[in-house]
């Protein structure tokens, strides 16, 4: 009877209840949406690279090294000499190594010069290796393997030929058009910067830069080269490299060794640590978003509270009647709390369904536009905890009208 009374009372006040319910739904949508997108972005972020023990580059900040080597954002302060790379890579403690050479692009997408070990050892997410949707790793000098997004957006298929541009600008006039590359492989989507990368061999990078100095073609040296067999295509330097160690316990000692490398100033970072440093830098934005969504929720809660408070005035005769037939003050307290609970419950329900629908509908757009894989399943430990907090907050806010009703009843004013 208690629940029936609360439900019928709410249905009797449809107008104001629907407005309160909408406000609550929108606030839940914002609150859970911000939390979910934050959580998913962070997960995407930390899933960008896994299984790599150290990333080595020219001495710079750890975040900068992480940004240009993993996220292809920004530029390195200095390159690493090939001799230094070989010396570190040949250490007995090193299990595998992936060289990285950046500096060229294709229609705004970064080109990564590397070795075939990249396809063997580089992993993302929960140590997932790269998989080919079509084709195979590069084998010949001018073979290129495309990330999923590059292939999809630029509509490339196996066997297509493309020209790389010198530099990383979206529009470049310095094209390596005399040495086009052939698409031999297309990777499956990963939800990481790999999807937006073209992968070629280090030798391929060297080959297209023959006759180039300081970023421009040497004038009068455009004679085509048909046979690269006699040309030494070993790079003189690379941008960075990732490595895996045989013993994980040795990571810190090895890192210290790289940081004190005698040959040139180098820096080794632990990707996990650098990723969390990078995420911390975005902490202010993250907290601001959470604060704003929290305030939106508080406003909705106060709206519900104000609506219930106003309803007490409207329902004075009803409350008096309840008292006369024997309803104790605590009955009135819990009746109003139950009404607030129903509004919150349906607010959470509508807000959650709305959020899941929006995430589902916008999934392709978000992947295409931001390269983020946002799951439409919003129920995580964090979000469930947040929903419990929402119910708790709504209980406390509804306690204002509930207490008013309780106290009036106790004093015999209703």
């Amino acid at each position: 009877m208690f629940i029936r009374l609360a439900v019928k009372s709410l249905l009797d006040r449809k107008g104001s209840v629907i407005v309160s319910l909408l406000a609550m739904s929108v606030s839940i949508f914002v609150l859970l949406g911000v939390e979910h997108i934050r959580h998913q972005t962070k997960e995407n972020f930390s899933n960008t690279v896994s299984g790599v023990d150290l990333i080595v580059g020219g001495r710079t900040g750890s975040v900068n090294l992480l940004l240009y080597s993993v996220f292809r954002v920004g530029n390195p302060t200095n390159n690493i000499r090939w001799e230094s790379y070989e010396k570190i890579a040949s250490s007995r403690k090193v299990d595998w190594v992936i060289p990285i050479s950046l500096g060229d692009s294709h229609k705004g997408y970064r080109v990564l010069g590397t070795s075939t070990d990249y396809f063997k050892y580089f992993s993302y997410g929960e140590k997932r290796l790269l998989e080919f949707r079509d084709g195979r790793p590069f084998r010949d000098l001018f073979d290129v393997v495309l990330g999923a997004e590059v292939a999809r957006k630029l509509n490339y298929q196996l066997g297509d030929r493309l020209v790389l541009a010198h530099g990383v600008a979206a529009t470049s006039f310095s094209l390596h058009d005399d040495r086009p590359f052939e698409v031999v492989g297309i990777l499956n989507p990963t939800g990481t910067p790999v999807d937006q990368t073209l992968h070629v061999s280090l030798a391929g990078i060297e080959a297209i830069h023959i006759d180039w100095q300081h970023g421009v073609r040497v004038p009068g040296s455009a004679a085509p080269i048909d046979n690269f067999d006699d040309i030494d295509l070993q790079p003189k330097s690379i941008t960075a490299f990732m490595l895996g160690l045989k013993e994980k316990m040795a990571t810190f000692r090895f890192q210290r060794g790289v940081n004190n490398f005698k040959g040139e100033p180098l820096m080794a970072i632990l990707p996990g640590v650098a990723l969390s440093e990078l995420w911390q830098m975005m902490g202010v934005l993250e907290k601001t978003l959470l604060l704003v969504s929290g305030l939106v929720f508080l406003a909705a809660c106060l709206g519900v509270s104000a609506m219930l408070l106003a309803s007490i005035r409207e329902r004075r005769r009803e409350i008096h009647l309840l008292r006369v037939i024997g309803a104790p003050p605590r009955f009135l307290f819990f009746l109003i709390e139950l009404e607030a609970f129903f509004i919150t419950f349906f607010g959470v329900l509508v807000g959650s369904v709305l959020l899941m629908s929006c995430l589902l509908l916008s999934r392709d757009y978000v992947i295409e536009r931001f390269g983020l894989h946002i799951s439409s399943s919003i129920f995580t430990y964090n979000s469930i905890y947040m929903i419990l907090m929402v119910f708790l907050a709504s209980f406390f806010v509804a306690a204002i009208p509930s207490c008013v009703s309780y106290l009036r009843a106790r004093k015999g004013l209703d």
Binding site: M1, S9, L321, I325
Partner: protein, 225 residues
Amino acid sequence: MAIDLKDVQYSYPSNPGKMVLNIPSWSVPEGEKTFLYGPSGGGKSTLLNALSGLIKTTGNVTIFGQELNGLSAKQRDRFRAKNIGFVFQQFNLISYLDALDNIKLASAFGSGRRGEILEEEIKNLLNELNISADEWHEPARNLSIGQQQRIAIARSLINKPQLLIADEPTSSLDHANRDIFMSLLMNIVEEHKITLLLVSHDMSLSAHFSSTVSLNEINRIEEGG
């Protein structure tokens, strides 16, 4: 005695200097039908609140031997639900509940009975009060004042009260309906052996009662204070 008041005094907390009730002594025997009349603002509602235990006065308010001021608030609520039925001029029912739910709600606070036996009892009461089955499931607001008042009587009887308080029950009814209501009420209290206290300013109703009391006689409020 059904009602026994001794040295009852009451002032509202918001205006402690102004006494609203001052009744040195007043009693109503069990089974009697008493007509209490008095002008508006004479303290009728406050007296009814005191008799039902909604407010706590000084002195003694004894209903069927139970001294209300000696009970806790919770006990007073329980006592009222079980022993006192109410019928008002208007707003007798929760407007968005139907007849059955209004009566079930009163039962939940009083006897706490539920289930089919209660449902059957409610239907018998509604039939006894000539309320057709079509009206049982209508929200109270869709019914006429007369229908609402008959349902209010059914509600007040569901917990088998010993005392029925009717506060201006006929003020919203026309002449014909007033007579029908009064005869129904009198039959019901007779049949169920209930003590009736009817409060009104309509002196023409006094003909139905064995005892008539003026509120001014029992409530000794001095001018200005």
